[in-house]
């Protein structure tokens, strides 16, 4: 259902990507030592493209999103190294004021829990007009008119009345629509959506994902869609990055990634998802063991202790995220002994 034609995985040569992340590392200080939440991530994202970022809890996907956004910077609690360029601007070299400008206009963020993303004692209208007046320089009346238009854009009925309501008067789906409207207020080029539908029911989830897709088509923004839910990402992203223990283990076009995973973790993750198309009481392929301790991660491949294909070298030598040798679509995986590719044309 609702498949969207995939853009080519990478445009040949051409213009500079909208987002460039280079060897990004985010270490969070803990009493036991530094926790390597994001450990050397590099990726790019083109204008108008959707990148899915999937992984289980603790894989570093949310920390990556927030570091890219510039919400996490080097300070008493954490150290950030590497580079994040959004539209050419180095997010972590900007000062606080520069970053505020960026958040207001260049990037928008949608968080998982819309109730905590909204201020409970402020009306919906205030949430929306604040950034319009601050960054857009609109007058009070113009900001209000624009806020109404934004609510209409995200499919909220009776927008004029909703502007005067408090967040608690709205349902979860409505609140998430308001959060999306806030993120879109100044038409950002990049939207980072961190688990935007995890707190919502499945019918509402579909509405919100459809909404994001439509807005992307209309406004031409790039989206980074962070989710633990493979199905959510599968139908919506052009490319998908799978994260495990702070690193990207596989990165490929959504269709090829899900049809024929090469990294054993991607394969195992896909196999552990219950499917509607299978008969009841089918045994699921669980992944034994637990993710590594990110304060003192193991040498070598971090998935090796849980991997069904692991050999001796996996425990010693860390694999690098390398592009696939043979031609075809651009895809990369970090594995010494990848899953055998499916023969082309097989069903």
């Amino acid at each position: 259902m609702s498949q969207r034609p995939h853009a080519p995985a990478r445009p040949p040569g051409g213009s500079a990507p909208l987002l460039v992340v280079e060897d990004l590392r985010t270490e969070i200080r803990t009493p036991r030592g530094n926790l390597k939440a994001v450990d050397g991530v590099s990726l790019t994202l083109d204008a108008g493209e959707t990148l899915g970022l999937v992984g289980e809890s603790g894989s570093g996907k949310s920390v990556l999103g927030r570091t890219v956004m510039g919400l996490y910077t080097t300070g008493p609690a954490m150290t950030v190294s590497g580079r994040v360029l959004i539209d050419g601007a180095d997010v972590h070299a900007l000062g606080d004021a520069g970053r505020r400008e960026l958040w207001g206009a260049g990037v928008g963020m949608v968080f998982q829990d819309p109730m905590t993303a909204l201020n409970p004692v402020k009306k919906v209208g205030v949430h929306l007009t604040e950034s319009l007046r601050r960054h857009g320089g609109l007058s009070r009346a113009a900001a209000r008119a624009r806020a109404e238009e934004l609510l209409r854009l995200v499919g909220i009925p009776e927008p004029a009345r909703r502007l005067g309501q408090y967040p608690h008067e709205l349902s979860g789906g409505m609140r998430q629509r308001v959060v999306i409207a806030m993120a879109l207020a100044n038409e950002p080029k990049l939207l980072i959506a961190d688990e935007p539908t995890t707190a919502l029911d499945v019918t509402v989830q579909k509405q919100i994902l459809d909404l994001l897709g439509r807005l992307q088509d209309e406004l031409g923004m790039a989206i980074t869609l962070i989710s633990h839910n493979l199905q959510v990402v599968a139908g919506r992203a052009d490319r998908v990055a799978v994260m495990y223990a702070g690193r990207i283990v596989e990165l490929a076009g959504a269709d090829v990634l899900f049809a024929a995973p090469r990294h054993p973790y991607t394969e195992a993750l896909l196999a552990s998802v219950p499917r509607l198309g299978r008969p009841p009481h089918s045994r699921l392929e669980a992944i034994d063991g637990a993710p590594p301790d990110m304060v003192a991660p193991t040498e070598g491949c971090r998935f090796a202790p849980r991997c069904r294909y692991a050999r001796e070298d996996c425990h010693r030598v860390p694999p690098v995220l390398a592009p696939e040798a043979a031609g075809g679509r651009a895809r990369a995986f970090a594995c010494h002994h990848p899953v055998r590719p499916v023969v082309a044309g097989g069903s």
């Binding site: 259902m1 499919g155 509405q207 839910n229 199905q231 599968a234 198309g277 097989g346």
Partner: protein, 389 residues
């Protein structure tokens, strides 16, 4: 949708749990009441797993808790192995309820943070007067897939969510129950851990001869573990169907909406592991689910265009602005649109069929007359005026 019907109830001696006309209402101040569960009946055969499926606010958890008498339902009857549980004095209730145990959504907050694993697992029998032998506790911990030597002295905060859920299952099993009521037992777990716990529940059920009520919102999870699925909406039952045929034969507009909302079809082949052997056993559940096969009993073709594509009809009650749907691009070609559709208030649910405000097929009759559950196929029951004839 009705639920006041009882056509799906079975007779016979092997029913472990019989719930009849269950009503749960909560006072909401100013003389108002939340109608959480409004006349739901179901039964559970020996060794069967009944899945209760629905979105938040549909009353599935309230129904599960009312079965456990936590708190007792406003009215209705709950019989466990033939013994009535409602209206009992607390002491008598505790004795009779022992054979039914509950597994909750958040395994960490279900466990007393100050107790150690050995005491947590032994707690049930200890309350009943006999602290179990060490060997029994150890074997129970092993049977839920943990190493007793490792976790014996640990407290809940030293365990992962999946490990805590294993401990919760071990605790429940110590009392040798007949039935488990599982309320969203895997919703807070990662997919790989979710798979472990679902496998464990399946194994446990077979090994200990349990019956199970499995309450969840995830269609694929419910389908995987259940024999029979009951779909609820706003405190009523929409449809009861054998789980094996749910995707293909479900008829109720709400069940079809749920199926159409699952992003499943986009995930690709049925299982990564099989892929390595070359055979790409591609199952296309999503699309197959949307096209009613011709042979389906009572499959009305007019449901299909509404929910699976083509023109978007105006949904009564969908207050989404016209612009929301008019601009809808290829990704939302199911006619649902991305405009906001609100759940009616459980304080004042719609008359007649409660789904009618969101239903594309609703007619005047749906507002006046509540549809009753009736049989439409083998083990398949439906509460709708407009489909299934």
């Amino acid at each position: 949708m009705a639920g006041t019907g009882s056509a799906h109830m079975r007779s016979g001696q092997d029913r472990v749990l019989v719930v009849d006309n269950l009503v749960v209402e909560y006072p909401a101040g100013r003389g108002q009441k939340v109608h959480a569960v409004s006349g739901v009946s179901f039964d559970l055969l020996d060794g069967e797993t009944l899945g209760i499926l629905g979105e938040s606010g549909c009353g599935k958890s309230s129904a599960g808790r009312a079965v456990m008498q936590l708190p007792p339902p406003t009215s209705g009857s709950v019989r466990l192995d033939g013994a009535e549980l409602t209206g009992l004095a607390p002491r008598a209730l505790r004795t009779r309820r022992r054979k039914m145990q509950m597994i909750l959504q958040d395994p960490v907050s279900s466990l007393n943070p100050r107790r150690r694993v050995r005491d947590l697992v032994a707690e049930g029998p200890s309350i009943w007067g006999t602290r179990p032998a060490r060997e029994r506790i150890e074997s129970m911990i092993s049977s839920v897939g943990l190493d007793p030597a490792v976790v014996w002295d640990r407290r809940p905060h030293e365990l992962s969510g999946g490990q805590c859920q294993r401990i919760c299952i071990a605790r429940a099993l110590m009392l040798d129950p007949r039935a488990l009521i599982c309320d969203e037992p895997v919703s807070s777990l990662d997919v790989s851990v979710q798979a472990q716990i679902l496998n464990l529940l399946e194994e446990t059920k077979t090994r200990y001869g349990l019956s199970m009520v499995f309450i969840a919102h995830d269609l694929a999870v419910v389908k995987n573990i259940s024999d029979r699925i009951m779909v609820m909406y706003l405190g009523k039952v929409c449809e009861v169907t054998p789980s094996a045929r749910m995707s293909e034969s479900a008829l109720h507009p709400y069940t079809r909406l749920l199926l159409a909302s699952v992003p499943e079809a986009d995930l690709g082949p049925g299982g990564g592991i099989e892929l390595t052997t070359g055979e790409a056993g591609r199952e296309a559940p999503g699309d197959a689910a949307l096209a009613l096969p011709g042979g389906t009993p009572g499959g009305l073709p007019d449901v299909v265009p509404v929910l699976s594509g083509g023109t978007a009809p105006a949904w009564p009650g969908d207050a989404g602005p016209a612009v929301g749907r008019a601009r809808t691009g290829g990704r939302s070609a199911d006619g649902v649109g991305d405009g906001a559709i609100e759940l009616p208030s459980p304080l004042n649910p719609p008359s007649g069929c409660r789904f009618r405000t969101r239903c594309p097929l609703a007619t005047a009759r749906c507002a006046d007359e509540e549809p009753l559950l009736r049989q439409v196929g083998d083990g398949h029951y439906l509460a709708c005026h407009n489909v299934g004839d």
